[in-house]
């Protein structure tokens, strides 16, 4: 993990989508006046007819996605995560998930990525909102390699899916070699016996840094990257609870119904151990993303302190 080389996952998303579209003419993109923010410029240039920009109309966008799928196409429906999910939630439930339409919902710039644009633009509720919907896989890639692999998987697989495509710069975290993304499987990035940090998306590299900080304090923390938030990799979570005895989850989202809640349920049902759920807990104040992540304790330091706390160790 080279920490100072960071990437906007939207770039990997956009490149991979163009690559897939070259090979498969069923792939189309749909967006809500978000060609730029969804990084669809090169797609538009190469496949002008296969970009359906519906304008500022998210319900229409998702319904159109379902219709395109019905016509035999493979639509990637892209919009700022909060507008896509908040504005079109019933379309996501009825037209996509309940109808089992082959629609790839791509929530761009999620979490606190919009920084000082404020809470109306932050997408911190999306994981809770979507995990509540049956039959809708929720995927959160943590770096460019996972982003590419997840999109390839989504394009190949028939059925609905939500992909959370990050904007906040992240370092590469996927181990070289092995597959960057396997649907339904969490990736253990670091071994440890004292506690497990279960992280997703932007929090994964911070979890790795937290583990390094913890090591200085003599704590061996395991780090698990959950890129399939729903359905969750129960085995890996059970192993974490059983083998390390303490769990901290970290997500750039409210933990009420997202990663934190998902992990909590497995831990409680199989091996109750002390746990803490890190995430955003309120509408954010004004500030850029980095500042807001600090504000909510979503930093290497914040994660490490929380791990010490759950272990009952002094964290001052």
């Amino acid at each position: 993990m080279i920490l100072d080389e960071t990437h906007d996952c939207r770039d990997a998303f956009a490149e991979e989508l163009v690559r897939l579209a070259r090979a498969d003419d069923r792939i189309v993109a749909v967006c809500n006046d978000s060609v730029g923010s969804s990084k669809l410029g090169s797609f538009a240039a190469e496949f002008p007819d296969r970009l359906v920009n519906v304008g500022i109309a998210e319900q229409d966008m998702v319904g159109i996605g379902a219709g395109l799928a019905n016509a035999g196409l493979v639509p990637f429906v892209c919009g700022a995560a909060t507008f896509l999910t908040a504005r079109a939630l019933e379309q996501i439930k009825a037209d996509v998930a309940y109808s089992l339409a082959n629609v790839k919902l791509c929530g761009m710039s999620p979490g606190l990525a919009y920084g000082a644009l404020g809470p109306t633009h932050h997408s911190t509720e999306d994981l809770s909102w979507l995990r509540a919907i049956a039959d809708l896989p929720v995927i959160v890639p943590a770096d460019p390699a996972q982003t590419r692999a997840a999109i390839r998987w989504a394009a190949e697989t028939d059925g609905p899916v939500f992909l959370r495509i990050g904007r906040f710069p992240v370092p590469d975290v996927s181990p070289p070699g092995g597959p960057a993304f396997t649907y339904g499987r969490a990736v253990r990035l670091r071994e440890g016996v004292d506690a497990t940090i279960v992280a997703t998306g932007t929090m994964v590299s911070r979890a790795m840094q937290a583990a390094a900080l913890l090591e200085e304090r003599g704590v061996q923390a395991r780090v698990v990257n959950v890129s399939t938030v729903a359905p969750l990799d129960r085995e890996e979570i059970m192993a974490a609870a059983r083998q390390t005895g303490a769990v901290v989850t970290a997500e750039e989202a409210v933990p009420t119904g997202g990663l934190g809640a998902a992990v909590a349920e497995v831990v409680l049902e199989t091996r109750p151990v002390p746990m803490r759920l890190l995430g955003t807990r309120a509408f954010a104040p004004t500030g850029e993303t980095g500042f807001l992540l600090e504000y909510f304790g979503l930093t290497a330091d914040g994660i490490a302190r929380t791990a010490l706390e759950v272990l009952g160790l002094d964290h001052s």
Partner: protein
């Protein structure tokens, strides 16, 4: 992700019914206008009777809207839509979406008449584990292109289908039937704007303009007039017809799109059409007839 099945029975094509429907289509294609009108009226009568029996037996349903939309459905399935009940996924089929999904019984009955599944399955409507839920589910019912029930979903999906078919070079058409009260949902106007902007001439919206919604008249709730002007201002052709006149509907739906625009057919209908005590009465939106009322209704529909 392992999907939990929402229905525990697979609906399969009914080949006898398909053969009967094909004969009807051929007959109608050759018939003069009077004969065609009579055949479609006969079909509508049969469907209306089955609607009443099915709702009465299940103790659930939306009789008023089922009866107002029946003639629209029979016109479309009897003489317009190129579909194959034996192969519901045929890529070049015309697409039909019943956006006013609460009128599922009229739709199920029509689909069974075409042979998408056997008419005897209609008796399972709303019963435990039946594929025939109160609102049509794409998962369970062949011929249903998208699950509907929440209002204002059908037209955006229809627009997506029409855009997609055009992209794939298919000449198939897309027809969406909407309620009039349903047009209060803004999602429809998003879709209308997109369809107008894109000149989706293969798309037709038929409005079941019965003037009533769930709890009152549309004009007392949130008036829709001037309705044709709205569609025109959103870039559509708009025509108004008697929605119980099969031939008028047929002409309105099939006339060539000179303008290259999508077309809205405002079909003036009567909610509860054909049953005297239901006609234009708001309470029959979802009231269920008792045995006596059902008997009277079936007689009137003979």
């Amino acid at each position: 992700m392992t999907l939990t099945p929402t229905a525990h029975e697979l609906l399969l094509p009914d080949h006898d019914a398909i053969a009967g429907w094909r004969r009807l289509r051929e007959r109608l294609a050759r018939a003069d206008r009077d004969a065609a009108a009579t055949a479609l009226a006969t079909l509508s009568g049969e469907i209306r009777r089955t609607v009443i029996s099915t709702i009465t037996a299940a103790g659930l349903g939306h009789a008023g809207g089922d009866l107002s939309v029946t003639d629209i459905l029979t016109t479309l399935y009897g003489a317009v839509l190129r579909v194959d009940p034996a192969d519901p996924g045929w890529p070049d089929r015309d697409r039909f979406v019943l956006s006013k999904g609460h009128c599922s019984v009229a739709l199920y009955t029509t689909l069974a008449t075409c042979g998408f599944f056997s008419a005897d399955r209609l008796s399972t409507f709303a019963a435990p584990l039946s594929p025939l839920n109160g609102h049509p589910s794409r998962r369970a019912v062949p011929g249903v292109e998208t699950s509907t029930g929440p209002l204002g979903h059908g037209l955006p999906v229809g627009v997506g289908i029409a855009v997609g078919l055009r992209l794939r070079g298919s000449a198939a058409r897309t027809v969406v039937v909407l309620g009039d009260g349903e047009l209060q949902e803004g999602s429809n106007w998003e879709a209308a704007m997109t369809a107008g902007h894109r000149g989706l001439a293969s798309l037709t919206a038929v409005i079941d303009r019965n003037g009533l919604q769930q709890g009152a008249r549309t004009s007392d709730t949130n008036d829709l007039e001037p309705l044709a002007d709205k569609w025109r201002a959103f870039g559509w052709e708009a025509v108004e017809v008697d929605g119980h006149d099969h031939l008028a509907l047929l002409d309105a739906v099939t006339a060539p799109h000179g303008s290259g625009r999508p077309r809205c057919v405002i079909a003036r209908t009567v909610k509860g059409r054909g049953v005297s005590f239901m006609e234009d009465r708001v309470e029959w939106h979802h009231k269920v007839p008792d045995a006596e009322q059902a008997r009277t209704a079936l007689e009137e529909l003979r």
